[in-house]
């Protein structure tokens, strides 16, 4: 094995190598930064949707006095729904944008660097394959979710200020409006949903896509989608059962059962946020184990795969 203290021979005395020691987290930090350099859509897409939402909200503002008028006659829940709906829609749309971005990002990130041969540049630097793969997973599971929340927070704050001005200007009580709106409920529900579903429950899904991205030589999208589809069809024809299909459905939507958001608008203030049962779901932990295995395999594949 190598040590830094080689036996010196003649003019080739080993240099003392006073490498300014980098913190071990620095390559990781910069690996995440470079993902944001490369995939600007990670923040541009949710921002753009946020902008569109704000634009659309201007039309809501025009109708707001009339909406409030009719809402006065409603029962509290319906009233809340009437005033808070644009806020719920805004949060859902931004989250949806982030979700779509993460699907495309996860399928492209380990495939694209091989396709354009830039992997040879990345590999010429002292960053391990595992660090790289973990950075990409971090973008999916953390950066995108935090960004989606932060953008929603900013957009909804602007919406709140604008609507409050309209409310006050048309003679209604701003305090009452805020009370009805229960915006913190929307945001709290969003945060809960992002952490439980997108960060934890979907982790194996994202990591599976990363693995496919590291593995496939072409069309990672097809490789990600067709094999599960083929399994479903095969099972249906051969055994007349749908276990795999049910499993997929459970993976995609079942998270909501576990998180207590089933059969309810995920941002509904009355939904049950019960992390206890969720944390006890075997599906959660099994999923996380699979996610970890997928990441390790993806890192291994990245080490072995050559440029396309």
């Amino acid at each position: 094995m190598t040590t830094l203290s080689q036996t010196g021979n003649g003019p080739f005395e080993p240099q003392p190598a006073p490498a300014a020691a980098l913190a071990p987290t620095r390559p990781f930090y910069w690996s995440v930064r470079r993902e944001l350099f490369e995939y600007r859509s990670i923040y541009l897409a949710p921002l753009a949707i946020g902008g569109v939402v704000l634009l659309g909200f201007l039309f809501v503002l025009v109708r707001l006095p009339r909406t409030l008028q009719t809402a006065m006659a409603m029962e509290p829940l319906a009233h809340r729904h009437a005033v808070a709906q644009p806020f719920d829609v805004a949060a859902s749309l931004i989250m949806m944008a982030a979700f779509i971005v993460s699907i495309f990002y996860s399928l492209d990130c380990l495939y694209g660097e091989r396709r354009d041969r830039s992997i040879l540049f990345w590999k010429s630097l002292p960053v391990s394959d595992l660090t790289t793969v973990l950075a990409k997973a971090c973008v999916l599971l953390l950066v995108l979710q935090v960004l989606s929340f932060a953008i929603t927070l900013v957009v909804e704050t602007i919406m709140l200020l604008l609507s409050s001005a309209v409310v006050a200007g048309s003679g209604f009580s701003v305090a009452d409006y805020w009370n009805r709106l229960e915006l913190y409920q929307t945001l709290w529900g969003l945060a809960y949903h992002l952490v439980t579903v997108h960060m934890l429950w979907y982790a194996p899904l994202y990591c599976w896509l990363l693995l496919v991205s590291a593995w496939s030589r072409r069309t990672p999208f097809l490789w990600a989608v067709l094999p599960p589809f083929a399994v479903v069809i095969f099972e249906k024809i051969a055994f007349h059962t749908s276990y795999f299909l049910n499993f997929l459905i459970y993976r995609f939507s079942g998270g909501q059962e576990a998180t207590g958001t089933a059969n309810a608008n995920m941002l509904d203030p009355d939904m049950h946020m019960t992390p206890g049962p969720f944390l006890l779901t075997s599906g959660l932990w099994l999923g996380l184990v699979f996610a970890a295995v997928f990441l390790l395999v993806a890192a291994r594949l990245r080490r072995q795969r050559s440029p396309l």
Binding site: Y29, L120, K123, S124, L125, V127
Partner: protein
């Protein structure tokens, strides 16, 4: 400690043998030119050295096993795989930031100074730069890294002659300090003749020739033989003979210079000529037992 030491290095892709038992030893402070025809195994050998592919046999680069320790090895090794591997979407400033962020031995000031001598804008994306500028940028990044081994695989492919000249000038004047080791592969053989200190030919996965450049100049001589001395020249067993504009040019290995001078005009051959002689003899009809003498002490 040698910079690179390989023993019976082997690599097969399916049934294709890319490296067929390569023995290689490169001392520190050398500039090695690794020359070979297409598909000879040059890039495979370099990829093994850089820890990009697994291999059979023994390989140590700066005392490390590249496949196992690529990440740590890359603190001491830089490489330019070919001109087009810088990601096209990256901005010049982002590339500098990133390398500065992940590489413990990157000197940002050096990179900036080198770029300052070019017309490259910090805000440009790589896709907006010309091929020559991309090569300059990559070289700026690599030269600012205080590495002990620099590997260049076809670094000037597709560049015009000005950029190519500039590339090697920068490398020799601003980077090479006699303690660093450089390995370069290229098809533009004539351009590195005065750059390299050591020469190696690789063909069909084997090192078929190797010597240092002083040896090269002492051993090999090329003679444009006067027509009437042709028979006498051939009697001295040239390793290769070619016709140029009706004149015979013969390549000799370790022949007596005075004897040669009597035959015609004598000069040091170009690497390309020796390459054709060695590789041509290999693949074509063997010429009178000259070939084996070439390889004494070089292979295996």
């Amino acid at each position: 400690m040698p910079c690179i030491e390989a023993r019976s290095l082997r690599k097969a892709f399916g049934t294709t043998v890319a490296l067929d038992g390569v023995d290689l030893r490169v001392e520190e402070g050398r500039i090695l030119g690794l020359i070979g025809p297409n598909g000879a195994g040059k890039t495979t050998a370099l990829n093994a050295i850089l820890g990009l592919i697994p291999y059979e046999g023994q390989l140590r680069v700066l005392g490390r096993d590249p496949w196992i320790e690529r990440e740590r090895l890359m603190c001491d090794v830089s490489f330019i795989a070919d001109v087009a591997v810088l990601p096209r979407w990256i901005r010049v400033s982002e590339a500098i930031d990133y390398v500065a962020g992940v590489h413990p031995r990157f000197d940002r000031a050096k990179a900036e100074a080198f770029l300052g001598r070019t017309t490259i804008q910090r805000s440009s994306k790589v896709r907006e730069l010309s091929k020559g500028m991309v090569a300059q940028l990559h070289l700026a990044l690599v030269m600012a890294i205080d590495a002990r081994l620099l590997v260049l695989d076809e670094p000037t492919l597709g560049l015009d002659i000005l950029y190519r000249k500039q590339f090697y000038d920068s490398l020799l004047n601003d980077y090479y300090d006699r303690t660093r080791t450089i390995i370069v592969t290229t098809h533009q053989v004539e351009e590195i003749q005065h750059v390299i200190t050591d020469l190696m030919f690789i063909d069909r996965g084997r090192i078929v020739f190797g010597c240092n450049m002083e040896e090269f100049e002492l051993r090999y001589a090329e003679v444009t033989v006067k027509p009437d001395r042709l028979a006498a020249a051939r009697a001295l067993k040239p390793m290769h003979e070619r016709q140029v504009l009706g004149r015979s040019i013969l390549l000799f290995d370790q022949a007596d210079r005075q004897q040669l001078a009597a035959l015609g005009e004598v000069r040091t051959p170009s690497i390309a000529d020796l390459f054709v002689a060695v590789i041509g003899n290999q693949s074509g009809a063997p010429q009178a037992g000259n070939v084996p003498r070439q390889f004494e002490g070089v292979t295996r």
